[in-house]
């Protein structure tokens, strides 16, 4: 079977100017290191180190704004708001 190769990072457009501001916050105290946030992230922006989740420092330039990490975290360790108005991901074909 032919393996499908896809570099999805090249398949996302963003507004080139403007500051998104911080829009994901993480409370390690509530995290039990289950790693579900890493499972649901299309771009692998979450990882688990020493029993705690860790968010990529580059999330502002890579995040798809889907908020799946916020929704799946049963311990509510992740809070998600949106990037500042007029910044972030642009959906052209959807």
């Amino acid at each position: 079977m032919e393996e499908i190769k896809l570099d999805i990072k090249k398949l996302v457009s963003r507004v080139s100017s403007g500051e998104t501001g911080d829009f994901i916050s993480f409370d390690p105290q509530n995290c039990n290191g289950c790693g579900k946030c890493a499972d649901v992230c299309s771009f692998g922006l979450w990882s688990v180190k020493d029993g705690k989740a860790k968010l990529s420092k580059r999330y502002k330039e890579l995040c798809l704004e889907c908020a799946a990490c916020w929704e799946i975290c049963a311990r509510e360790a992740i809070d998600f708001s949106y990037p500042a108005g007029g910044t972030g991901v642009v959906i052209k074909y959807g």
Partner: protein, 474 residues
């Protein structure tokens, strides 16, 4: 500080339709969109079904002028077995009933939200609503325990008699007002790839249709536009989530029949998206003092197939009408806004959710369950072999032998399907209209020699004794 009759948060179809309706009712209304233009942050498939012709004909008439528009007249289901072979391709084209029920038969439409949303926002602006783009509503203002307006990330405070929250699945408004936080187990994640393709080939090979890919994987939809298509899949965000979002799509793209379709259409991945999609048995509370939730923010998408745009527009319309009616009396307290829930529950939107639990259960144990799908596809394939046309083209033996062999195989498989039928199909029987229940019973009676001679009234009474849930008027 500004003061409005109604502030609508979100410039998607639900927000725009609410703003349009409020403006038409003479209210002073503004709607806020966090993208630079509506549609830039959309979350959608996006196919619009036949009911749009009944409820929003003025929108359907105009859609062909949008560049990505494709007319849709059928849904084609591709069934794939555990060896990745395409085993059945069948379509819903609609019966005579479909052709006469709506003036446009089975006609629906596919159009990119990046085009639909600006079009709908324009309708609201034309009706007199004000739109503000690049504006993220980041909090609610609470006064005397009720929502009294919103604040935005560019430092503005907008006071309002009523806030209509159309701000999507993650609804900041619902969260900040304390209505809820996460959905819990009622929300799916939908990864989606957009493909560019050759328009003429798409016309020739697929035509005016949407496609689905069902198999021993997370079921996928393929929405076809003028010169491109979406492939999307999904699953509930629960503890048992077990796959990378992109791998759900790759699994379908590996199917040889999908690959050959891509080759013929010269299809190339063009954009990747991922969205939350609430998929609820029944929406939780949809109002609080001074605020109503519409569309995805309320959890309204269809519990059977996940469409949400119609639900957003219908709920947006009901919310704005409720606001207009209540504002004339000046009472938009939580108690008085119960009226919103009463209205949507008694609308077709409410009817869609009356069987929410049954629909969600059915989906959860079929299309969203790769293991169950293996079995179900086997049953479906064997059942299809009993179809008269299939019997004609099974040349393996004398035809009556072939028919009997397939019947035998089907009967052998049936016990495996029994639990599924009892747990997931039978509960839907309660949705059969009493008059139809009565007709089914009387048909059965005709076929049973003993019962045939029993008076109709006594027979129906007996039936009700055996099956108390029967609603047929007796």
């Amino acid at each position: 500080m500004e003061k409005w009759d109604v502030v609508v948060v979100g410039g998607g179809p639900g927000g725009s339709y609410a703003a349009k309706t409020a403006a038409e009712r003479g209210l002073n209304v503004v709607f806020l969109e966090r993208g630079r233009k509506p549609g830039e942050k959309n979350a959608s498939g996006c196919g619009l079904g036949q009911r749009w012709w009944r409820d929003f004909p003025e929108i359907m008439e105009e859609l062909p002028s949008l560049p990505s528009y494709r007319k849709v007249e059928m849904v084609v289901i591709n069934l794939v077995d555990e060896n990745n072979r395409l085993r059945m391709r069948s379509g819903t084209t609609g019966s005579d009933l479909c052709a006469t029920r709506w003036k446009k038969g089975m006609e629906g439409a596919s159009v990119y939200r990046s085009e639909l949303d600006p079009f709908m926002a324009n309708l609201a602006i034309k009706a007199g609503a004000e739109m503000r783009t690049s504006t993220l509503a980041n909090d609610v203002i609470m006064e005397n325990g009720r929502v009294a307006g919103v604040t935005t990330d560019n430092g503005h405070t907008l006071k309002a008699d009523v806030v209509i929250a159309a701000d999507g699945a993650m609804s900041t408004m619902a969260r900040k007002s304390g209505m809820r936080n996460r959905w819990g187990s009622g929300c799916t994640l939908v990864p989606q790839l957009d493909f560019s393709c050759n328009e003429e080939r798409l016309d020739d090979v697929i035509g005016n249709a949407e496609w689905c890919w069902f198999g021993p994987f997370y079921g996928a939809y393929q929405v076809n536009f003028r010169d491109g298509f979406h492939l999307g899949a999904g699953q509930w965000l629960r503890k048992d989530w077990d796959m990378k979002p992109l791998d759900m799509l790759k699994r379908v793209m590996e199917v040889p029949a999908f690959q050959s379709m891509m080759r013929v259409l010269e299809a190339k991945p063009r954009e990747y998206q991922a969205h939350l999609l609430p998929w609820m048995e029944s929406p939780p509370k949809t109002y609080t003092g001074g605020m109503m939730l519409v569309g995805d923010a309320a959890g309204f998408p269809c519990p059977l197939e996940g469409e949400g745009i119609w639900h957003a527009c219908i709920s947006g319309r009901i919310a704005a009408e409720t606001a207009a009616d209540l504002l004339s009396s000046g009472d938009v307290s939580e108690k008085s806004l119960q009226e919103y829930e009463r209205r949507w529950k008694s609308s077709r939107l409410g009817l869609e959710h009356q069987f929410g639990k049954e629909f969600v259960d059915l989906w959860d144990s079929s299309i969203f369950n790769p293991e169950m799908m293996k079995k179900q596809i086997q049953i479906l394939l064997e059942f299809s072999m009993l179809h008269p046309f299939s019997v004609v083209f099974d040349w393996g033996d004398a035809h009556i032998e072939a028919f009997n062999q397939h019947l035998e195989h089907f009967l052998d498989l049936l016990p495996e399907f029994e639990d599924f039928g009892r747990n997931y199909i039978a509960p839907l029987g309660e949705g059969i209209w009493p008059e139809n229940q009565r007709r089914i019973l009387l048909l059965l009676r005709e076929k049973m020699p003993v019962l045939k001679y029993m008076p109709e009234k006594s027979f129906l009474r007996l039936a009700k004794l055996i099956y108390p849930k029967l609603k047929a008027k007796i």
